[in-house]
């Protein structure tokens, strides 16, 4: 009996010591809760929660003295994040979530009293005595503290749409895609799809428009020009309402990228927000141009005497001034891309004529029709970026295009090779075209210049040719209009800014989508009035038998992971994203990193359950990007607030110091007076 008791006691003692040691040794290094809550707060320091700043509120929440839903500027998103962190139920924020707000000062009423300046916790208001004040929109945190400080009531809060690069596309669910099939993201239903390792073989999806000569489209009455930079920022217009422009007149400043040009002659009828093609939807400021029908050209830019012998600098300037953007889909300014390539010392220019996305034939058609322009453009681009080798990549299923390119090379007597790429989808992605053409491998997450290669789309090169030889701005492109629902499929020369209705009309099949881009990577559009832009290579009008199937539950078959060219695990990612696990957080491992997804949608093409994988992964990418931007803004706000506090502290101390010095001086002088009195006395 005694021995049993002793044994058990001994065992219990050993186990207890062991547990204690393990607990001490294996204890995780967790962030203090206050820090983590503070990180989630928007750092507006507005005090609307009743605490004198974000950090005191974080401390109160961590101590359990404050509810989690007091942060008004943070909105419901912040409330949820804090509730998740503390694992408590999230009560919604006190007020309706109206999205981001920014203060605006009505300049006709501002009297320049400067009272709002100290009220702003992040120094976001500029102004001086009797000067009209203004709000730095990028720094305003929407805390409303200035509204009450204004004696004239001339400050009000306005809702703003976030910039394009921090808009988050909605997470597609089985319910949302069933309710709005016309906005479901993802590829069309392709009858002939075969999974391959790292891609998909798709056949027979281009036949509808193949081999037809391109046609021209009559000019529409009105053009819409989105003032959109490649970075998602807005371009600044150089024309105002009522101004007359001609075809090729620059209408915006180049900003960080390239300027935009008027597609025809006419009058600027308005500057207003219009819907654009974007996975997250929304509107952007656009110039509205009413055509006068005469199509009078602007005086062309002076022609370069011999573009093939010009200085690279001169060529890059011309390519920028002509407003040339990548026409393969991304619409990235070509001058920036080539200048970056020149800095990376690339030695090879790959002319991308692969056009691997389905339904599209515009690049192929352009190669057949204007191979000479393309080859000439390629030589100019190669000179501009310092590449001394040019390779033309053409899909092996388009032999006529390859033959046309070969003929043009012989005519030009240039040392250029044509490479037929046999690859499957997504062989035309610039990260994936490098290996079959040059034998070099682009490391994960890197771009081709990292291995000395720069890729240019054939349409872009043709535009470069016209810009350098004829001084023409890039205002037109070849676009494929196709799909089972298209009334007149074919390739059309279309001016940038043309509303899609001018191309595809208004007839709709219920539940069918209009897709801008190719049959796999295209984006569905909600409004057919959206304008054509440089990056749009195709418009696909879906027929009912091309619409994606209804979503079914994922059976974890793993086909998506097999075909992913980036080695991701869509099946694991999707269940996490849909459960809200780790969305907006950096990925835990490289195969679960949505930022590495190029959006090629191969996974979705082979998914037997038609899960909208590309839309789900896109949502995660957008969410992470938006979150990073939010954090960055919060960090900036925190720094500005701290700087302000430090400044005030310094000022206070200086004042005190001055006062003390004055007091001392007075005391000293009084003493001196007394001393002098005594000596005198």
């Amino acid at each position: 009996m005694l021995s049993a008791v002793l044994t058990l006691t001994a065992i219990a003692g050993v186990c207890g010591v062991g547990l204690g040691a393990a607990g001490r040794r294996l204890a995780g290094q967790r962030d203090p809760v206050v820090e983590r809550i503070d990180e989630l707060l928007p750092q507006t320091q507005c005090g609307q929660c009743g605490y004198p700043g974000c950090r005191p509120y974080a401390e109160a929440v961590a101590a359990g003295q404050a509810p989690v839903n007091l942060c008004t500027p943070g909105g419901n998103g912040t409330v949820r994040a804090i509730a998740d962190l503390l694992q408590v139920d999230a009560e919604p924020a006190n007020e309706a979530d109206s999205g981001p707000l920014i203060a605006f000062i009505d300049e006709s009423q501002c009297i320049g009293c400067t009272r709002c300046l100290p009220a702003c916790p992040v120094d976001a208001i500029l102004g001086a005595q009797r000067q009209v004040h203004t709000v730095i929109a990028d720094e305003c945190t929407g805390c409303r503290l200035c509204v009450d400080a204004c004696p004239m009531d001339c400050i009000h809060m306005e809702a703003v749409e976030p910039p394009l690069n921090s808009r988050v596309r909605p997470l597609p669910t089985a319910q949302s895609t069933a309710a709005q099939p016309q906005l479901r993201p993802g590829p069309l239903r392709h009858p002939e799809v075969e999974p391959r390792r790292g891609g998909v073989a798709v056949s027979g999806a281009k036949d509808r428009t193949r081999g037809q000569p391109p046609r021209s489209l009559a000019l529409p009455e009105q053009f819409v020009l989105p003032l959109l930079d490649h970075s998602g920022a807005e371009l600044t217009p150089t024309v105002g309402v009522g101004d007359r422009v001609r075809r090729g007149t620059p209408v915006t400043q180049p900003g960080r990228g390239v300027p935009l040009h008027a597609p025809t002659s006419g009058v600027i009828a308005g500057i207003e927000r219009r819907p654009i093609v974007h996975p997250a939807g929304g509107t952007i400021t656009c110039l509205i141009l009413t055509a006068d029908g005469a199509d009078r050209p602007e005086n062309p830019m002076p022609t370069l005497p011999d573009p093939l012998r010009s200085e690279p600098r001169e060529l890059l300037t011309r390519i920028r001034d002509a407003g040339i953007r990548g026409m393969g889909g991304a619409a990235f300014p070509s001058s920036l891309k080539l200048a970056d390539a020149a800095q990376c010392d690339v030695d090879t220019l790959v002319v991308n004529g692969v056009e691997c996305d389905t339904y599209l034939t515009c690049d192929e058609t352009l190669l057949r029709e204007r191979a000479d322009d393309i080859i000439s453009g390629a030589r100019i681009a190669a000179r501009a970026c310092g590449a001394d080798r040019i390779l033309v990549a053409v899909k092996s299923s388009a032999p006529e295009a390859a033959a046309a390119a070969q003929r043009a090379i012989e005519t030009a007597e240039a040392d250029i090779q044509v490479v037929q790429v046999a690859g499957h989808y997504p062989a035309g992605n610039e990260r994936h075209i490098v290996f079959p053409t040059t034998g070099r491998t682009v490391p994960p997450g890197a771009r081709p210049p990292a291995v000395g290669v720069v890729c240019q789309n054939v349409s872009t090169l043709a535009a470069i040719h016209r810009a350098c030889f004829y001084g023409e701005a890039s205002i037109e492109r070849l676009v494929t209009v196709t799909g089972g629902g298209a009334t007149d499929p074919g390739n059309y020369w279309v001016r940038v800014g043309t509303p899609l209705t001018a191309l595809i009309g208004n007839a709709t099949e219920p539940g069918c989508r209009v897709i801008v881009g190719g049959g796999i990577m295209g984006t569905p559009v909600a409004d057919r009035e959206v304008p054509l832009t440089h990056g749009m290579n195709g418009i696909v009008v879906e027929a009912p038998d091309e619409a994606p199937r209804m979503e079914q539950p994922c059976i974890r078959c793993g086909r998506c992971a097999e075909v992913c060219p980036e080695g991701l695990k869509p099946l694991e990612l999707v269940s996490r994203i849909r459960a809200g696990v780790g969305v907006g957080e950096p990925a835990e491992s490289i195969e679960l990193d949505p930022m590495r997804c190029t959006g090629c949608s191969s996974c979705e093409l082979v998914c037997p359950s038609s899960v909208p994988l590309s839309g789900i992964l896109g949502h995660a990418r957008d969410a992470l990007r938006a979150r990073m931007r939010e954090r960055e803004q919060a960090e900036r706000a925190r720094r500005r607030h701290e700087a302000q506090q430090a400044r005030e502290e310094r000022r206070r101390r200086e004042k005190e110091e001055a006062r003390r010095r004055k007091r001392e001086a007075m005391a000293a002088s009084a003493k001196q007076d007394r001393q002098s009195e005594t000596t005198e006395g």
């Binding site: 009858p191 075969e194 992971a561 695990k569």
Partner: protein, 322 residues
């Protein structure tokens, strides 16, 4: 080739099971088909009810084909002479406890068919252990009339009583292999001839699925390798021969149709090999050393529970493959 759809995949798996069903029906008579009908009917009704309660479309979920597949596997796992409530209960419990409580297809941790089978096996151990001796020939061992009566009423007639007896695996579990061979080698051999046919039926379907790239080769390979390796190791003692383990009971069906369920298997290639191999190991260990006649159902459920962990370990160790 058109991209497969989920109902298409499930349909092809059911199609691949048909040779097995045909051989079973040929060997054991109409009871197999009666079980199938009862399990299928109960499973579909249970699924429709639950989906109605959850406010989802019942038709879409039933048409995805996973429920008929689970019901077919349950019917093949159960002995051919049973009163109807046992296969019906197995089908309904498989759908309810195996699938819908987790949120439906794709969310379940455990193989629904195995959950349903094990539920009735633990609830009705007596009935589940009664297998009629398999005999080739269309005039099956159990006359159709008798089978139907037993199916409807559950009353054991003298014929059924005489015809049902403990299976070879049962005797292996209770008496060990030497005792079995002492008892009557000829009966066992006759039986194994019939089992050969059944194994052939499942193998045929499995090869079809492999050829259509519907199942991952790692899973059946792992199960068979695990089974043979463990059986080989037990040969050192008084284990049953390898062919016995390979062909009896559920080995081939588990290898090609149960372990290959992608929902409950790991997704990493290496993890799948380990998962399938351990299913084979555990099943033979339970057969030879445990108290239950067949171990595959338990082995599959145990490894189902370990699947996420295997994925995690493989990923952490950097051994993940595409």
């Amino acid at each position: 080739m058109a991209a497969p759809t989920t109902p298409g995949i499930m349909g092809q798996v059911v199609l691949a099971l048909l040779p097995g069903v045909a051989v079973m029906a040929h060997l054991f008579g109409v009871g197999v088909l009666l079980n199938l009908a009862a399990a299928l009917g109960a499973a579909v009704i249970a699924e429709a009810l639950v989906l109605r309660l959850r406010g989802q479309s019942a038709a879409a979920a039933i048409l995805d084909g996973s429920t008929p597949l689970a019901a077919t596997i349950i019917a093949l796992a159960l002995p051919p002479a049973l009163p109807f409530w046992i296969p019906a209960l197995a089908g309904a419990l498989g759908v309810l406890l195996g699938k819908q409580v987790y949120g439906g297809l794709g969310q379940n941790v455990f193989n629904p068919a195995m959950v349903g089978y094990l539920a009735v096996m633990l609830a009705f151990p007596q009935a589940i252990s009664l297998w009629p001796p398999p005999e080739a020939g269309w005039g099956a061992s159990l006359p159709a009339r008798e089978a139907l009566d037993y199916f409807l009423t559950g009353a054991l007639t003298p014929v059924t009583d005489a015809l049902t007896h403990a299976t070879p695996l049962d005797r292996l579990a209770t008496q060990g292999f030497p005792a079995m061979t002492d008892g009557g080698l000829s009966g066992l051999l006759a039986a194994s001839g019939a089992w050969l046919w059944l194994g052939g039926g499942f193998l045929l379907g499995g090869l079809f699925l492999l050829a259509r790239q519907i199942i991952d080769w790692r899973l059946p390979l792992g199960v068979i390798a695990g089974t043979l390796a463990t059986a080989g190791l037990l040969q050192l003692g008084d284990g049953a021969p390898l062919t016995f383990h390979l062909l009896t009971g559920a080995t081939l069906m588990a290898a090609f149709f149960i372990a290959t369920d992608p929902v409950t298997a790991p997704s990493e290639g290496t993890a799948r090999l380990i998962y399938a191999g351990l299913i084979g190991v555990l099943a033979v260990v339970i057969r030879e050393l445990g108290g239950h006649p067949d171990g595959f159902a338990f082995a599959v459920l145990m490894m189902n529970a370990a699947a996420p962990l295997l994925d995690y370990i493989v990923r952490r160790s950097g051994g993940g493959t595409a």
